[in-house]
C-alpha cells in the first residue's frame, strides 16, 4: 500500500512539472505591474525585433519581451498552439491551417519590408544588371558561364569574364528561399522550373550555406559565385549586388527606398495579406519580402493584452524609423494606416 502511494506521488509530481513548464499563452495575471510577453517566429525580422524590443522596453519599464527566432513556420505553430503571446511570420497560414489556430480570430499586422539581394563575386564586374529570365536560368543551372550572351545582353558595355558560375543557396529551410523562389515563379514562369518553397529541389552542383550569413560567406569566398542574401547581410559582408529588372521594365538596385516603393504598387487584401514581390511600382525593387506579426483579436489577459497592443503600435509608428539603419524598409503609409486600423480592433479585457 505504502509503495503504491509513493509511486503515485512520484508520477503525480512528474505530471505537474510538465503542466507548469508548457506555459499557456493566456497565462496568469502579471504581479506588480511587470509583464513578460513571449513571442517567436521569423528569423528574417529578428534584427528588427532586437532593436525594436530594446527601444520599446527601455521606454516602458515593467514590460519584458522575449523573441525566439525559430523560423516563420515555428512562429505560426507556436501561435496556433497558444504557447506564445504573439508571433511573427514571413508568410500567412495556409487556408487549411487557419482553423487550427486555437485562440480564435487573429490579425495579420504587417511591419517590415526587406529587399533580398542577388549578390555576386565576379572580379572586374562592379555593376551587374539581370532580368528575371536570366536570373531564373542562372539559379536553375541552365546558364553556367558569366560571359553567356544572355547575361551580356542585360549588360551592354560591361566586359564579362569567361568564368564558371557558382550558385550559392540556403541549406536550411528558409522564408528567404521561399520569397526568392516565389518571385522567380511570378516573374519568370517559363524559365524557372524548380517551383517555390522554403526548400526547393536545387540541382546537386549548387553550394549550400546555412542562413543568410552562410550564403554571403560562400559568395564572398568563391570567385564566380552568385547567391540570394538579404540586404543587411550582403552589406555586412561587403558584397556587390545586382540591379534587377522590375515588372515595369526598369533596372533597380536593392535599397531601403526601393523596398518601400515595392509596398506601394500592390494589392492588399482586407486581412492585410499581400505580397510585395514583383511589384508594378516603377521604382520598386522586385524581390522585396514582407513580414507580419500576428496578434489575437480577443486578448484574454489585461496586462499582457495592453502591453502587446502597445508594442505593436510602437512597431508600426516610432519603430519604423529604426528600420533604415538595419537595412530593412518601413512599410508604406497606406499599409501603415490599414495596420493601425486593424490593431485598433484588438479587444483587451
Amino acid at each position: 500500500m505504502n509503495k503504491l502511494l509513493i509511486a503515485v506521488a512520484l508520477l503525480g509530481a512528474c505530471g505537474k512539472k510538465e503542466e507548469g513548464s508548457s506555459g499557456k499563452g493566456g497565462g496568469k495575471p502579471a504581479s506588480g505591474g511587470a509583464v513578460t510577453l513571449n513571442a517567436s517566429g521569423a528569423t528574417f525580422q529578428q534584427p528588427f525585433q532586437e532593436v525594436a524590443i530594446e527601444a520599446f522596453t527601455k521606454a516602458n519599464a515593467g514590460i519584458k519581451i522575449n523573441y525566439g527566432a525559430g523560423g516563420s513556420g515555428k512562429g505560426r505553430q507556436d501561435f496556433a498552439d497558444q504557447v506564445v503571446d504573439f508571433a511573427c511570420s514571413d508568410a500567412p497560414y495556409k487556408e487549411a491551417d487557419v482553423g487550427k489556430v486555437k485562440g480564435g480570430e487573429f490579425f495579420y499586422i504587417p511591419n517590415v519590408l526587406g529587399p533580398i539581394t542577388v549578390s555576386y563575386n565576379v572580379p572586374g564586374v562592379d555593376k551587374l544588371q539581370l532580368s528575371p529570365d536570366v536570373l531564373a536560368k542562372i539559379f536553375g543551372r541552365e546558364m553556367k558561364k558569366w560571359n553567356d550572351p544572355a547575361i551580356a545582353a542585360d549588360n551592354a558595355g560591361v566586359t564579362l569574364p569567361d568564368l564558371d558560375i557558382v550558385v550559392a543557396r540556403r541549406s536550411d529551410g528558409s522564408g528567404t528561399t521561399e520569397n526568392f523562389t516565389k518571385y522567380l515563379t511570378l516573374a519568370a514562369p517559363d524559365a524557372w522550373k524548380l517551383k517555390s518553397g522554403s526548400t526547393v529541389e536545387w540541382p546537386a552542383d549548387t553550394q549550400a550555406g546555412n542562413g543568410n550569413s552562410g550564403v554571403a560567406q560562400i559568395v564572398k569566398s568563391t570567385k564566380g559565385a552568385i547567391g540570394y542574401v538579404d540586404l543587411s547581410d550582403a552589406k555586412a559582408s561587403g558584397l556587390k549586388y545586382a540591379a534587377l529588372k522590375n515588372a515595369s521594365g526598369a533596372y533597380v538596385d536593392p535599397s531601403v527606398a526601393a523596398a518601400t516603393a515595392a509596398g506601394e504598387g500592390i494589392e492588399i487584401k482586407d486581412n492585410l495579406i499581400f505580397s510585395a514581390l514583383n511589384s508594378k511600382a516603377p521604382t520598386a525593387y522586385p524581390i522585396t519580402a514582407q513580414s507580419w506579426c500576428l496578434i489575437y483579436a480577443k486578448q484574454t489577459d489585461k496586462a499582457k493584452g495592453t502591453a502587446a497592443v502597445a508594442y505593436f503600435k510602437y512597431m508600426l509608428t516610432d519603430g519604423q524609423s529604426l528600420l533604415g539603419e538595419i537595412d530593412f524598409a518601413p512599410i508604406p503609409k497606406v499599409l501603415q494606416d490599414k495596420a493601425l486600423a486593424q490593431l485598433a480592433k484588438v479587444q483587451v479585457p
Binding site: 505504502n2 509503495k3 509513493i6 509511486a7 512520484l10 512528474c14 528569423t43 525559430g70 523560423g71 516563420s72 513556420g73 515555428k74 495556409k94 491551417d97 541549406s171 536550411d172 529551410g173 528558409s174 522564408g175 521561399e178 524548380l194 517551383k195 517555390s196 518553397g197 522554403s198 526548400t199 526547393v200 529541389e201 536545387w202 546537386a204 552542383d205 549548387t206 553550394q207 549550400a208 546555412n210 569566398s221
Partner: protein
C-alpha cells in the same frame, strides 16, 4: 537481490528501491513515448509514400514527394568513412596507451583523448567548414563530413577499446612474452583475440554516434539533394542534417516526412547500439570467465 532488500524493512532501503525502479521505468517510459509520438506523426507520409519513402530519390516539398534514399545513403556512407578513419587511429592509440607507452605518459594521454570527446559538435563542424572545406579545399562533401565524424568518434572508440584491452589477463601476455614473442606478436597472439568482441562493440557504438551526429554533419555535408554516389568528393545530405536544416520552416506533410526520417534513424541507431551492447557484454562475460 530484490528478495534480500524486501527482507529488511529499513525505510531507506525501501525508498531507494522505489526511486531506483522509478528512474528505470522513467527511461523506458520516455523512450516509449518518443517512439509512439514519432511513429504516429510519421504515419501520414508513410501512408502516402509507402515503401517508396525508402527507395525514391526525389525529395520535394513543392510536389509532396518524399524519398529518403539519398539521405539514408548519405548517413551510411559518411558513417562508413568515419569508421574507416577512426578505427585504425583509435586502436593504434588504445594499444599504444595500454601496451607501449611508458607509465608517465599514459595518464596525460588518456586525459587528452577523453577531452576530445567533450568538444561540442558545432565546434568540430565549424572547424570542418573553415579548415577542411575552405583551407584544404575539400568543399562540402561526404568526405569532409566523414572526416569530421571520424574525429568525433575517435575518443569514444579509443576509450572503450582501451578498457577492453586492459581486461587482458597479465598472465596471458606474460606467457606470450615468455615464449619469446615480440611486443607485436604478443599483442596479436593474446591481446587482440582476447578483446575482439569488445573492440567490435566499441566500433559499433562509434558507428551509432556517427550516424546520429547532426550539427557537424549539417555544416559540412553540403545539403545536396538526390545524391546516391560513391564519389566521396560529392556534396550530399544525411538524415539528421536534413531534419535540422528543414524543420523550422516545414509545413505539415514536410514535417511528417522529417519525422519519418527521424524514426528511420532511431530504428537504425537503436539496432546498432543493441548489437554493440550485446557484443560487448558477451565478450566481457567471456573474458571474465576465462580469467577466473
Amino acid at each position: 537481490m530484490l528478495l534480500d532488500l524486501r527482507g529488511r524493512s529499513a525505510h531507506g532501503d525501501r525508498a531507494f528501491r522505489w526511486i531506483a525502479i522509478g528512474a528505470g521505468a522513467l527511461v523506458l517510459l520516455i523512450l516509449g513515448m518518443v517512439a509512439l509520438v514519432m511513429v504516429d506523426r510519421a504515419r501520414p507520409v508513410l501512408g502516402e509514400m509507402g515503401l517508396s519513402f525508402f527507395s525514391s530519390k526525389r525529395w520535394s516539398s513543392a510536389d509532396g514527394m518524399y524519398g529518403a534514399l539519398p539521405f539514408l545513403w548519405g548517413t551510411l556512407f559518411t558513417a562508413a568513412i568515419a569508421v574507416a578513419i577512426a578505427v585504425p587511429v583509435s586502436l593504434g592509440v588504445a594499444l599504444f596507451v595500454t601496451q607501449v607507452a611508458p607509465r608517465w605518459l599514459k595518464k596525460p594521454m588518456v586525459y587528452v583523448i577523453d577531452l576530445l570527446a567533450v568538444v561540442p559538435s558545432v565546434v568540430f563542424g565549424l572547424w570542418g567548414v573553415l579548415v577542411l572545406s575552405q583551407h584544404f579545399g575539400l568543399g562540402r562533401s561526404f568526405l569532409t563530413a566523414g572526416i569530421i565524424l571520424g574525429i568525433m568518434i575517435t575518443p569514444i572508440i579509443t576509450s572503450l577499446s582501451r578498457e577492453v584491452i586492459e581486461t587482458t589477463p597479465p598472465s596471458e601476455k606474460e606467457a606470450a612474452l615468455a615464449l619469446g614473442a615480440t611486443r607485436w606478436e604478443m599483442i596479436r597472439a593474446s591481446v587482440l583475440p582476447h578483446s575482439k568482441g569488445g573492440l567490435v562493440g566499441a566500433v559499433m557504438l562509434g558507428l551509432g554516434r556517427a550516424m546520429g551526429e547532426t550539427i557537424a554533419a549539417a555544416l559540412v555535408i553540403g545539403s545536396a539533394l538526390g545524391q546516391v554516389t560513391v564519389n566521396p568528393f560529392a556534396s550530399g545530405n544525411s538524415m539528421p542534417a536534413v531534419i535540422a536544416n528543414e524543420w523550422g520552416e516545414a509545413d505539415d506533410m514536410h514535417k511528417s516526412a522529417l519525422i519519418a526520417l527521424a524514426v528511420t534513424l532511431f530504428v537504425i541507431t537503436i539496432a546498432v547500439n543493441l548489437i554493440a551492447t550485446a557484443i560487448v557484454q558477451r565478450s566481457m562475460r567471456h573474458s571474465r570467465g576465462k580469467s577466473t
